[in-house]
């Protein structure tokens, strides 16, 4: 029903516009500009994280409830490597991503694949259990205090007219875009990528033509995990990490994927940017701690009015 969807999107946009005029119009332009740019750049890193979830959910149809926890582990890994070996996160990105690929592959192959035929909530609870273990192991290992990675150039910024943009943010966003593009290319161009898309589009058909679906599932989970790993390494340069971030990021990833649209990789990025910007604006318009409220309200609205998300395909 295109009319209902158009009305839904219209309602959301109208609500956002009203909010803007109520709280944001009075702010100085430069501040607003900085906030928007920061939100956009942060949103791209969020988008990378959500891309990992979208790939996993879109193909393997597993709700990875441990997604945010995995992101947090990547953040701690970066902290550890930086503290111990003085390695710049942009370098440790690669080994961490590879390690995450292996972990994700093993997790899917070993733990989740046998569960593919079980009822949905069983798989879900399985990952909830994994998430609980992850968060608390982190708590045991690192304690509840915040950690961060402060590279030498952390305080440098680009000045573009009235805007002051952190260099770290720009680099991180650039890497995010690079990795996302690489992923798009992988799925479009390579045989393996196309095989994975086949499994996602038509499972029975894929099996019928002889694709080893379980192996592709493991591969996909590995790829999704690698993306999360990379996103975590980037994110810890922008934000401090605590174990409690795990569940928060899991939710955020789901909000982004659902808002942006299931099964749409572009949607994950677009959703990430949307959430990044709206969080930044909400932080300025209200208080910083209220910014997640905004995201949750958006999630609820989207679930009700347009469950397949802004760019998503209709569920089969």
């Amino acid at each position: 029903m295109p009319l209902k969807s158009a009305a839904a999107i219209g309602a959301i946009v109208a609500a956002l516009a009203a909010l803007y005029f109520w709280r944001l119009a009075a702010l100085p332009g430069a501040l607003l500009g900085n906030v928007l740019v920061t939100g956009f750049l942060t949103g791209l890193v969020y988008g990378l994280m959500a891309l990992g979830l979208s790939v996993i959910f879109g193909v393997v149809r597993v709700v990875n409830f441990a997604h945010g926890e995995m992101m947090t582990i990547a953040m701690y890994a970066s902290v550890f490597l930086f503290a111990a070996l003085k390695l710049d996160p942009f370098i440790t990105l690669f080994p961490v991503a590879i390690a995450f690929f292996v972990f994700g592959y093993a997790l899917q192959a070993g733990l989740i694949n046998p569960f593919v035929e079980r009822p949905e909530h069983s798989q879900f609870m399985l990952l909830v259990a994994v998430a609980i273990i992850m968060v608390n192991v982190l708590l045991m290992a690192f304690g509840p205090d915040a950690r961060s990675v402060q590279v030498d150039y952390a305080l440098e910024s680009f000045e573009v007219g009235p805007l002051v943009i952190d260099k770290v943010r720009v680099y991180a966003a650039a890497v995010a875009i690079l990795l996302a593009s690489g992923l798009f290319a992988f799925f479009r161009v390579t045989a393996t990528g196309r095989a994975i898309r086949a499994c996602a589009d038509n499972l029975l058909g894929a099996k019928v033509v002889g694709l080893n679906v379980k192996r592709y599932y493991a591969l996909t989970f590995g790829i999704g995990s690698a993306l999360v790993g990379a996103a975590g390494v980037l994110q810890v340069m922008l934000v401090d990490v605590t174990p409690a971030l795990g569940p928060a990021y899991t939710l955020l990833a789901f909000v982004i994927v659902i808002v942006g649209g299931l099964g749409s990789m572009g949607g994950a990025l677009a959703g990430g940017v949307l959430i990044g910007v709206s969080e930044a604006l909400a932080g300025v318009a209200f208080t910083p701690s209220a910014k997640s409220m905004f995201s949750f309200a958006l999630l609820i609205l989207v679930l009700l009015l347009r469950p397949r998300g802004l760019l998503g395909k209709k569920a089969a």
Partner: protein, 333 residues
Amino acid sequence: MLSSAQTRRAAIALLALLAVLVALPAFASAYLLSAMVLILYFAYVGQAWNVMMGFVGQLSLGHSLYVGLGAYAAAALYVHFGVSPWIGLWASMGVSLAAGALIGVLAFRFGIGGVYFALLTIAFAEFTRIGFDHFDWVGGSGGFFLPVKQHGVVDLANLRGPPVMFYYIALAMAVAAFVIAWRLRVSRIGYYWLAIRENEDAAQALGINTFRYKMLAILISSAMTSLAGVFFAFYYNNLFPEQIFSMGRSIEIILGPIIGGLGTLFGPVLGAFVLTLLGDGLTEVTSALGLEIPGLKQVFYGVALLVVILFVPNGIWPAMARRLGFGPSKGSK
């Protein structure tokens, strides 16, 4: 279905257990008593959650919402207006019912189920948590505190008193929840709920108004859970949004029923027992070794959940029941 011999044995065993629990304070240490209060609390709230998940098959991962709303409503009325919790609990139930109704209508009318429903419940709980952080009338993020009078005095009307009083209240609540769940389970409502859980299309084809029955489940579950919140508020005397509305709390609520046995009557009770005893036991062992490890207990819970899901997916109770001769050869009870 159970044979009458099995039912009789089960009834006798339950009554024996009840007798032990009633007599417990006479010979229990203060530590055991407080552990038992916790167990009974989780048995109660697990039973309330089980109504939604075990019976109707709707996965709610935001049940801390109802605990928190119930707690704050009764506490606010008591602290600001001196209203007795026995009256305040009606407000608690009202507020939780409203929240449950809202979530139910939004989700069930729009056909949201499964994982999406779970996410929706989480979103509502999180939204409320952050909201209450800024809700200064009830203390905001700094916390809301109930005045504690002398411990020796038993003031039942205001739920002020020694741990023994709370023990019996918790026991009464746990027993009531068990009885309510049992009566529901064997009634038309219970059958219709199970049908919806098993196959909603088929249930509809048999004349079941699935929307109405799902709403009934969420309303009953939320109202029952809100009373746990009232108990929580008056037992611990302090409320923090970050704790009471947290996802961690929601997960604590569901661990008992899942590990004990979804959809069964004794599952939540057994689950609460096992988790609290082993969890506390673990803490005892580590502090005896001189270690203080935050998060270890939660790791244990996570591992327990993992083990159960992998190897005993129906929970511990069904297998145990068969061994002990309480259960049928197969099937759910």
